[in-house]
Amino acid sequence: MARSVGAGLEPGPHIHAGFTKDRLMRGTLLFMAPLAALGVAAIGWKVLAHLAIALSTAAAFHFALVLGERRLRGQVLHPSWLSSLVAGAIVALSVLAVTPYAVTFAITALAIVLKFVQGWVFERKYLNPAATAKVLLLGGMTALAGMEEGLMYHPHHLWLDMVSSEGFRAALDWMYADGPFSPGLNLFLWKTHAWIGGVSGLATLLLGAAACWVLRLKWRIPLAFLGGMALLSVILAGATGGDPLLRLAFHMFTGSVIFLAFFMATEPQSTPMTELGQYLFGALLACLTFLLQLRGVLGGSVIALVALDFLTPVLDRVGIRRAVGEKGRVRA
C-alpha cells in the first residue's frame, strides 16, 4: 500500500455510469446495421461492396494514423477504432450505389484523415469528417473533371424544375418511377436510387428516432431539420399548388435528408451544445438544404451541413439557459 502522505490523492467522483464512448459507437453501428441490410435488399450486392470498402479503409487508416501518432506524438489522442468504423459506415451509407468504389474508398480515407487532423490541430472536430470529405472530394473532382464526371451533383438534375407543381411532379415521376409503388410512396418506403442509408425513409426515421432515444443523440437537430423541411414543403405546396404529401415525401424522405438528419447532423463534436443552438442549427440546415434541393442539387444536405458546421461556435453562445437560482440572483 502506498503510504506516502500527499501522494495519489484523487478528488471525486470515484464511480462511473459505465457508458463509454466505445459503447456509444457500438450502439450507433448497431442502429445503422439494419439500414445497410435494407440497402442490400433494395439495391443489391453493390451495397455490400461499398460497406466492405468503407469499413476496411476506415480501419486501415485508423490503425495507420494511430501508429504514426504514437511514433510522432508519443500518445494517442483518438484510440477508439469503433469511432473510425462509424465514420466509415456513414460514408458507405451516404453514397449512391452507383458511386465508383474508388470514390467510396477516397471519401472514407479523407474522412478518417480529417477526423485525426482536426483533433491534433484543434483538439476537437469543427467539421463533420464524413460530410467534409465528401464535399471536398466531389467538389474537387467536379472542379477538375467537370460536372458530369465530378459526381458533386448530376448536371442533368440542375435543369429540373423543382419549384412549379408540374415540373416537380414530372421530376419525381422521372426519378422515382422505379420501385414497387407510386413515386411518393417509393420515397417513403422503398427507393432503389438513393443514398444507401435512406432507401426506406420510414425505416431510417424509426431507427434514427430510436438511436436518438437510446443513445441520447442531439435529437433537437433532426427534429428542427425535418420539421423545417416539412414546414417549407407545405408552404411551397400551398404557394405553387400540387400535392403537399408528395412535397413532404420528397423534401423529407430523400436518402440525403433522412439519413443525414439522424446519422450525420447529430455528429456531436461539430454541432452546437445549447438546446436553442441545436434547434437553430436544424432549422438553418433545413432552409439551406431546401434551397439547394429547389436548385436541383438533390444531395445538397451534405453541403449545407458543412456550411452550418462553421456556425457552430457562434451557435454555442446562443441559448445559454437560466441556471438554478439565477432568477433571484444575489448581486455582489
Binding site: 506516502s4 478528488p11 467522483p13 470515484h14 451544445m273 437560482g325 432568477k327
Partner: protein, 440 residues
C-alpha cells in the same frame, strides 16, 4: 428502496451499493489505540490547540477552539495522553493539516448530564450549547451549526434533510430507525433555536417505512415529505425548490428565501448537546467495499480507517485508497492513518483492481450528456473548454458559480472526463476576479 436514482436528461445513478444496507444496524467500533483528531473538523478555520504534548486529556474535554465566528471547538474522543501534533491528509480538503495524536488509556465516554428541557432555554442559550458541543453539519459539508442557526433566526421553514442521496451511504436512515426519538428531540431543539418555524422532514423512504419516526413527527405536527429517488436533490440548493418550490438565489443561501436546511444527523447531535450536554465525539457512517459489502458503524471522531478495517476483520493490504464521504464527491486518500472527522458520512475502500474510472480520459466529444444531466442547468462541456483556456469572461457567462460539484457530469461522461478539477479551477479563477489581490 429504489436502486437507481433518476436524474435530469433520463440518466440514472446506480445506488445498488446501498442494497440491504438500511437493514444493517449500527455496530459500535471500539476506540482506536491512537486517535488522530484534526484541529479543524468542519468548514471553517482550524482551532488553536488547548493542550500540549504529554498532557492527559479526558474524553469530552475541549482540546482546540478559536475566536473566529466560524470556528468550532474540538473535543477529545478518548481519555488518554497527547502524544504529538502531526500533519495528516485531511479528508475534507485533501491537503495536509494539523492533528492531535492521542493515545487511548480509557475508552469510557462522558456520561450525560441531567436532561435539560430546551423549552426552558432561550434561542441564544441553545446556540451557545450547540457551539460548545462542537456540533457541525453532519451531512458531509461540515458547516458550523451554531453559525447557521444564528444567521437564520426567524426563517419560516426548517427542512430536515434525511434524503441521504449518496449512493454509498445509509447511516441517516439507520439513525431514523434506531434512534427516532432522539432525532425528533434534536429537531425540536433546532426549531426552538430558530423561533419555531414550520418543520419539514424530507426523506427518500416511502410512507409507512419508518413507523415510529413518522408517528413522532405526527405527534409534533411536523410535516414529512417523501422525495423522489434522485441523487442531486440531496443538495440543499436543490432540496429547497423540490420541497417548497422556491429557488435559492445564486450567490445566496437558503435563509435568503426563508429556509434553513439541517441534516438529520446534525439534528441528533444538537439534541444530544442541548438536552444532555454531550459533545460531538462520535457519529454513524457507512463503510463499503466491493468484496465485503457495506456495514453501518458508529465511530468516534479521530478513528483512523486502518482501525476500522481491523475491527471489521478486513485485510488492510486489499485496499490502496479510501474515499471519505460521498463516492461521487469525496476525496480518495491512499493512507490508512487518515481518520474519521465529524463530517465523514461514509468510507469506501478501493482495491488496486478498482482504479479510478477517469484515469484514461479521452478528449471531449461534445455529446452533451454532461449538459443534459447537470442538475443546476449549466453547461459543463462549454465550461470545460473555457476553463482550459482560462477564459474568465466565458466562465462567468456560463454561470459556473452555480455549480454544486455533485460529480454527475463526470459520472455520465462517455469520454470519462474528470470535470471536477476543471470546475474547481474555474471557480478559483472567478473568485480571483471578485476579490483581486491588494497589489492589483
Amino acid at each position: 428502496m429504489p436502486e437507481f436514482y433518476r436524474e435530469r436528461g433520463g440518466f440514472v445513478v446506480d445506488a445498488r451499493m446501498k442494497h440491504g444496507l438500511e437493514e444493517r444496524p449500527f455496530e459500535e467500533v471500539p476506540a482506536p489505540p491512537e486517535a488522530v483528531v484534526f484541529l479543524r473538523q468542519h468548514l471553517g478555520p482550524a482551532g488553536r490547540p488547548l493542550v500540549r504534548q504529554g498532557q492527559r486529556v479526558m474524553a469530552g474535554e475541549k482540546i482546540a477552539d478559536g475566536d473566529d465566528p466560524l470556528s468550532v471547538p474540538v473535543h477529545s474522543p478518548v481519555t488518554g495522553t497527547v502524544l504529538a501534533i502531526r500533519s495528516v491528509i485531511h479528508p475534507m480538503s485533501g491537503e495536509e493539516e494539523q492533528a492531535l495524536l492521542i493515545r487511548t488509556e480509557d475508552e469510557a465516554l462522558p456520561k450525560p448530564t441531567e436532561e435539560t428541557d430546551p423549552r426552558s432555554l432561550s434561542p441564544e442559550e441553545i446556540v451557545a450549547r450547540v457551539r460548545a458541543a462542537g456540533v457541525v453539519g453532519l451531512g458531509g459539508a461540515g458547516f458550523p451549526t451554531h453559525a447557521k442557526l444564528k444567521a437564520a433566526r426567524g426563517v419560516r421553514h426548517l427542512i430536515i434533510n434525511a434524503k441521504e442521496s449518496d449512493p454509498n451511504v445509509a447511516c441517516d436512515i439507520r439513525l431514523l430507525r434506531e434512534r427516532p426519538r432522539e432525532v425528533v428531540e434534536g429537531i425540536e431543539v433546532l426549531a426552538r433555536a430558530l423561533g419555531n418555524p414550520e418543520v419539514i422532514v424530507a426523506t427518500r423512504t416511502q410512507a409507512g417505512e419508518l413507523p415510529e419516526f413518522e408517528g413522532l413527527l405526527r405527534e409534533r405536527g411536523y410535516r414529512l415529505v417523501h422525495i423522489r429517488p434522485c441523487y442531486s436533490v440531496g443538495s440543499e440548493r436543490l432540496l429547497v425548490p423540490e420541497v417548497l418550490g422556491r429557488e435559492v438565489p445564486l450567490g445566496g443561501y437558503p435563509p435568503d428565501v426563508g429556509v434553513l436546511v439541517h441534516n438529520v444527523g446534525t439534528a441528533y447531535a444538537a439534541g444530544q448537546a442541548v438536552r444532555y450536554g454531550l459533545p460531538l465525539l462520535s457519529r454513524g457512517l457507512t463503510f463499503w467495499a466491493r468484496d465485503s459489502g457495506g456495514r453501518n458503524l458508529w465511530v468516534r471522531v479521530g478513528t483512523p480507517v486502518g482501525h476500522i478495517l481491523r475491527y471489521l476483520g478486513i485485510e488492510e493490504a486489499r485496499f490502496d485508497r479510501f474515499v471519505f464521504g460521498s463516492a461521487l464527491m469525496g476525496w480518495a486518500v491512499p493512507d490508512l492513518n487518515v481518520p474519521v472527522v465529524k463530517a465523514t458520512t461514509g468510507i469506501v475502500g478501493l482495491s488496486p483492481k478498482e482504479p479510478s474510472p477517469y484515469r484514461h480520459s479521452l478528449p471531449c466529444m461534445r455529446c452533451g450528456y454532461c449538459d443534459s444531466v447537470c442538475p443546476v442547468r449549466i453547461f459543463p462541456s462549454l465550461i470545460l473548454a473555457a476553463g482550459r483556456r482560462d477564459d474568465k469572461a466565458a466562465l462567468r457567462r456560463l454561470k459556473l458559480a452555480a455549480c454544486i460539484e455533485c460529480g454527475l457530469c463526470s459520472y455520465v461522461c462517455p469520454s470519462r472526463i474528470h470535470f471536477t478539477a476543471v470546475l474547481r479551477h474555474g471557480k478559483r479563477l472567478l473568485q480571483e476576479m471578485k476579490s483581486p489581490s491588494p497589489k492589483s
